[in-house]
Symmetry: C2
Subunit: 310 residues, 2 copies
DNA sequence: GTTGTTGCATAGTCAAATCCTATAGGTCTG
DNA sequence: CAGACCTATAGGATTTGACTATGCAACAAC
């Protein structure tokens, strides 16, 4: 209905006149006066430099040119109409797209969220980009992605605070993770910071916030960590941990989920937050809003579940 | 260029803004003021009940809905543009259609005209309808066909004279036609009206003007014609004449063209005219005009040719 | 943090396009 | 040939579209 107002009046008139075979009849149907149609068709014919209607007979008929032009006009109308319906699809979440940035850590932590989102809104095209947190923040600030999922203190140092808007989902404790064959695979008591310095570590490289966080901790307690492996691939690290006698540091829920053994540190590392970040005051697409809502629901469930098993 | 005026301004603006990523830049390119764009886009968004552009950042970007709608708008624009070009094709005669009505007689007489027309304008769709002359006149009057080719006195009795417009192409003499095996296949002298009454005739049925013309002639000279065959198919009659000892009455050029033997009548039958008929004051499509022009040229050639062989 | 710059939004005015009523000028019908 | 029907034209009212001037927010530089 609204669409009728975007599509040019003159073409709507042409279509109606062709349909009714009469200016008078079409004018009645369109609730406009007959001279309006005369005038509009005249202008249209002048624009196209060709007569479109043959008014010589008892009933108005399309000329050769009119017949051909009408087909195109109908298709064009159909396109605009389809466009309006497609917009409603976007608002219904039956179409659309979501560009999501996350880190290797949040990837592991929230992929079940993404699975439910896809299950709920299968028409929405999801585009995920795995990258260091700093890049996520820049991408969000520059609107290259709709939303980021980060794992850190609310603001990173490199980004001006008010370019970004944050929503905390939940908090995670960091602990040491070892495989089932590691000497400490049975250890239940906490491990001291000093002992951490003895371990052979597999960690993400310094591009990643988690790694920098570990480095800060080591500095604070004057530990010189021993790195067996540095990588930007968390799956590589986890796979390594499972089979070799190395340790790494991960959020507790990833450790559990991957069937690794968790050892708490003493003193504990600063807890970190799983946070959604958006461009401050930026446009949020329907898909982005839906994702955000689902994420909060999912986080609440996740917390309950973690509380039970922790 | 003209097309830019038919396609809605608001959508042209949307396309330009999306292209330049800026209202200001687009306004410069379109030679309008920037507030005009703000206003138009606002209205467009209100019509569609959805934001289309995200103006929160440094550069204007399409929202999810805007991106989708833009695709449709571009296609619609393309359609209208294509329509305008198609109209020019019609005027160029590289497209279009021609609905032609003719009788079995004019079919035989003018099919070479149709062949040249098709050769000259291969893009024009030709639709021919073979029917009795009276039907042609009605069809022309009611614009069901663009042009008729008839073979008769200018006006038939059943149609009001001023509904139809005529253009005579050339005149034809009617004569008796017999096959090569007919007893009179060698006769060079004229045949009297009385002798015609002796012949076994194959003629079109009374739906056709030629047949009624023959009946009138017979009435005038008090002849009771003997009909062996009556048909609405001229090709059937010609085929029959070729192999059986019947006679028929045909325009002289058809007789020659079909390799039949022509015998003149005495007194001669009224000559008849090959005539183009149009709806009076009706719209003539470019194809119709072109056909008319070609027909007159063709008739001039045909006359010269006939003069040589007659 | 303050200031300057850039860019879109808003307000108010004006011209032009659109639509209306009334009427003229055509066909077609009886 | 008169009446009915239909489209075209003319002239006035309304709406739309575009402009200028200005406001406000974001970004950049000092």
């Amino acid at each position: 209905m609204q669409q009728r107002d975007i599509f040019p009046r003159s073409l709507q008139y042409l279509v109606a006149i062709a349909e009714y075979g009469s200016y008078t009849r079409a004018a009645e149907a369109l609730h406009v006066s007959q001279p309006t149609l005369s005038q509009q068709i005249k202008q249209l014919e002048e624009s196209l430099q060709s007569p479109l209607l043959d008014r010589s007979g008892r009933s108005v008929q399309l000329t050769n040119a009119g017949e051909i032009y009408l087909r195109h006009a109908r298709r064009a109308w159909g396109e605009l109409d389809g466009g309006a319906r497609a917009i409603h699809d976007v608002q219904n979440l039956s179409r659309g797209s979501l560009r999501l940035g996350w880190t290797p850590i949040t990837d592991y932590l929230t992929c079940s969220l993404l699975e439910s989102f896809n299950g709920l809104y299968p028409g929405i095209n999801i585009n995920t980009l795995d990258m260091p947190q700093d890049d996520i923040e820049v991408s969000v600030a520059e609107s290259r992605i709709d939303v980021g999922i980060v794992f850190s203190k609310p603001f990173s140092s490199t980004t001006r605070p008010n370019e970004i808007e944050t929503e905390v989902l939940f908090e995670e404790k960091l602990c040491i993770a070892v495989g089932k064959n590691h000497p400490r695979a049975k250890q239940r008591e906490r491990m001291s910071a000093q002992n951490l310095g003895q371990e052979s570590l597999a960690l993400l490289n310094t591009d990643f916030a988690l790694r920098r966080h570990v480095d800060d901790y080591c500095n604070e307690y004057d530990i010189e960590p021993r790195f067996a492996i540095e990588s930007n691939s968390l799956s590589a690290i986890i796979s390594l941990i499972k089979h070799r006698p190395h340790a790494t540091i991960l959020p507790r829920s990833i450790v559990k989920q991957q069937g690794l053994h968790a050892i708490n540190l003493s003193p504990e590392m600063q807890r970190k937050e799983i946070t959604l970040i958006y461009r401050k005051n930026g446009y949020k697409s329907p898909a982005t809003i839906a994702f955000s809502e689902l994420a909060h629901l999912w986080a609440k469930n996740e917390l309950q579940h973690t509380a039970q098993t922790q």
